[in-house]
């Protein structure tokens, strides 16, 4: 919050480099940051929650793209704990090429700050580079949920997201690939915010360093 205020006041100077960085990054919870205008990959059984929590920190529509068999199971009743279900625009493709085309179009649109793409196997180098270029144009965050195997790709980061049995809404997030920065693993926990007047607020994510990398 404080970072945003600094940008608004244009109180640059010593903080110039810091604000520039903050403007292009989305802070999930310190120290986990996702670069904007980039595509990130998420694998594991709780990768969809990683995408939803990212989306809860952004505004505007969430374009959720995938094959019918993958995105057909998304249920809005539970989504409303995290985001406003009306933000979700489900886009069904009938083939991998349609999904990739829709993802490219959505990433290129400036209005969609969060684009989630579900794929049964990860994008290859060529596909991911195209998506990456589209994301750079649009400036949003792209998240690819990989249900099967991930391949070598041009994506910025790759996250292994698994549910943890430490309690409700707790996961282990392991950063297994990072093009700019260090790897790591965190025990993440989401705490429901006290909603005021029906507005959807992003909850607090608590992170603790975990060894399971």
């Amino acid at each position: 919050m404080s970072v945003v205020q600094i940008i608004n006041r244009r109180d640059v100077g010593t903080l110039a480099s810091f604000t520039l960085q903050a403007r292009n990054e989305l802070c999930l919870a310190d120290p986990v940051r996702l670069a904007k205008g980039r595509v990130h990959e998420a694998t594991g059984d709780s990768s969809d929650m990683f995408a939803i929590l990212t989306a809860s920190r952004l505004s505007g529509p969430i374009i959720w793209i995938g094959l019918t068999r993958n995105i057909g199971s998304l249920a809005p009743t539970a989504l409303q704990d995290f985001i406003d279900p009306a933000r979700v625009i489900l886009t069904e493709g009938i083939s991998r090429s349609e999904v990739l085309w829709a993802a490219e179009q959505a990433l290129r649109a400036t209005c969609a700050e969060c684009v989630v793409v579900e794929m049964s196997s990860g994008p290859n180098l060529r596909e991911s580079r195209r998506l990456q270029i589209a994301a750079e144009e649009g400036g949003g965050v792209g998240i690819i949920l990989i249900h099967g195997r991930a391949h070598t790709s041009a994506c910025e980061t790759r996250w292994q997201c698994n549910a943890s049995n430490a309690g409700e809404n707790s996961w282990v997030w392991a950063l297994t690939k990072n093009r700019k920065g260090e790897l790591g693993a965190w025990q993440a926990r989401w705490i429901k915010p006290k909603t005021s007047g029906g507005a959807y607020e992003a909850g607090v994510i608590h992170l603790a360093a975990a060894t399971a990398a």
């Binding site: 998304l74 249920a75 279900p85 489900l90 493709g93």
Partner: protein, 495 residues
């Protein structure tokens, strides 16, 4: 001197059924509509009138009088469409026509009647043509709109002509209702013993105005022609379409785009001038060998942006196979809606909305608008019926979601997936699902759900368990209690 022809179509909804070949009209049959929360008869067939029914009767009363009564609800949109069709037909009589909804037309026939051999012949001709079309009509011709209206409805003949300058004589015998007065005013007048317009005309208008208000004297003087009451013609609905016929067929993509460019420019310019936008555009391409091909595109919000239309048409044009060329093109804008202009630079929220609808249009035009959808809440306690999908293209009010009484999974499998029980229990202690083996750490349940009582085919009673596995995954297990084969299913996956 103006001359006005009033056409009254007293049985318009019934004529609509007759024209459709509805056989019920020969039996006791009535058109009904809901008036003040009660179904009432509005139009009756001859057979229905002969058994003693009258219009305005409520449906239960009518059924009590005539148990065999057949009815049909009125369809105002259809009736209005028929009236509009007749409005176009009336062009053959006079170019100056106004609609008198719901069941009449006014024609200014000044200087037209001699073409039909006089006013009486003209009226007879119109009446005959209408009965050819199986439409009952009554016509009146007079100097004023009010008088023509009154003659059409209240004269004893089906066709009545009041000669020029004889309006007051023609009106004097007609009842007060012929002045088209409000219900209360005419009943007030009746109570004072006044019955015909002739009686009213004998009284000084100042006295009438003092006793009954200006509405009465105004209606009277308009009917007699002392006050102007012109026929204001209805303008035709604009058609936003453009057509191009070429001397030689073309087939190259650049040429096609050039044609499309000119057509869209023409259509969009006219739309923009009227501050309107279209949600759909249809392009007909007539190939010289394979005939007409219809291409269409849609937009999430009405638009008249030339470039957007061109851009969306590129893909369907690419897919079109033209072998020997096409020489006839027509672009039509449909689903016309007014668009509100707004200031882009100051309203960032609005701009984002426009961008969102642009991306919805782009995705929908390629994938199909039924595959770009959003969630909509439904009132049900069954997890699979708590929501429906609606097309994101439809503009709708913001909806409010209510929290589920119990925790619901983020992934809900429409068809629960069967699991393999490795170690039995309630729920199973160890089980295999998809490619993983899980063991139950904590289980909460059961949550028993049954189908709504009015749903007979929604399946059996189900028990749901919220299971936290040792491996971390939180699953929603389901079983059908009391069934012969106690199988366990995965119904969903929690966050």
């Amino acid at each position: 001197m103006r001359r006005v022809l009033s056409i009254w179509l007293p049985q318009l909804p019934l004529d609509l059924r007759i024209r459709k070949g509805d056989l019920r009209v020969s039996a006791p049959f009535a058109i009904i509509s809901e008036i003040n929360n009660a179904w009432r008869l509005t139009h009756l067939s001859d057979a229905a009138e002969s058994v003693g029914l009258s219009s305005g009767l409520s449906l239960p009363d009518a059924r009590a009088i005539c148990p065999d009564l057949l009815t049909h609800p009125s369809n105002q949109a259809r009736e209005a469409a028929l009236l509009r069709a007749l409005w176009r037909w009336a062009d053959s009589l006079s170019p100056w026509i106004a609609l008198d909804a719901p069941d009449g037309l006014f024609l200014d026939i000044t200087g037209c009647a001699h073409l039909f051999g006089g006013e009486a012949n003209m009226a007879a001709y119109a009446h005959e043509r209408l009965s050819d079309m199986q439409i009952t009509s009554r016509l009146g011709i007079a100097d004023t709109k009010g008088a023509a209206w009154a003659l059409a409805r209240f004269s004893s003949n089906e066709v009545k002509v009041a000669l020029p300058g004889q309006t007051s004589e023609a009106l004097s015998a007609l009842p007060l209702e012929a002045l088209r007065l409000p219900q209360k005013l005419s009943s007030d007048l009746r109570r004072t013993g006044l019955k015909t317009i002739g009686q009213l005309m004998e009284i000084k208008s100042a006295e009438l105005a003092r006793r009954f208000g200006l509405a009465l004297t105004q209606a009277l003087s308009a009917a007699l022609g002392h006050e102007p009451d012109p026929v204001s013609p209805k303008a035709a609905d604009p058609i936003y379409a453009a057509r191009m016929t070429l001397p030689d067929p073309i087939g190259l993509k650049g040429d096609l785009l050039g044609v499309l460019e000119q057509l869209t420019a023409s259509v969009c310019r006219r739309l923009a001038k009227d501050v309107k936008g279209a949600r759909r555009y249809y392009l007909t391409v007539r190939c010289v060998d394979t005939g007409d091909h219809l291409l269409h595109i849609g937009f999430a919000r009405p638009t008249h942006e030339h470039r957007a239309v061109m851009q969306q048409f590129t893909k369907p044009l690419d897919e079109l196979k033209i072998e020997f060329g096409a020489d006839w093109f027509r672009l039509e804008a449909a689903h016309i809606e007014p668009i509100q202009p707004f200031q882009i630079s100051l309203d960032q929220h609005k701009q984002a909305e426009v961008d969102t609808s642009k991306i919805i249009s782009t995705l929908g035009n390629r994938l199909g608008f039924d595959r770009v959808r959003q969630f909509m809440p439904m009132q049900s306690h069954l997890p699979e019926r708590e929501f429906v999908y609606v097309e994101a293209m439809d503009q709708r009010e913001p909806v409010s979601w209510t929290a589920a009484p119990r925790k619901r999974p983020i992934r809900l499998f429409k068809r629960p997936e069967r699991l393999v029980t490795l170690e039995a229990g309630r729920p199973p202690k160890r089980f295999q699902w998809r490619r993983g083996v899980y063991s139950t750490h904590v289980a909460k349940g059961p949550e028993r759900l049954t189908a709504e009582w009015w749903q007979t085919d929604m399946g059996a009673v189900r028990d749901y368990w919220h299971v936290q596995t040792t491996e971390g995954l939180r699953l929603w297990l389901m079983t059908y209690p009391g069934s012969k084969e106690p199988g366990w299913y995965i119904a969903g996956k929690f966050s």
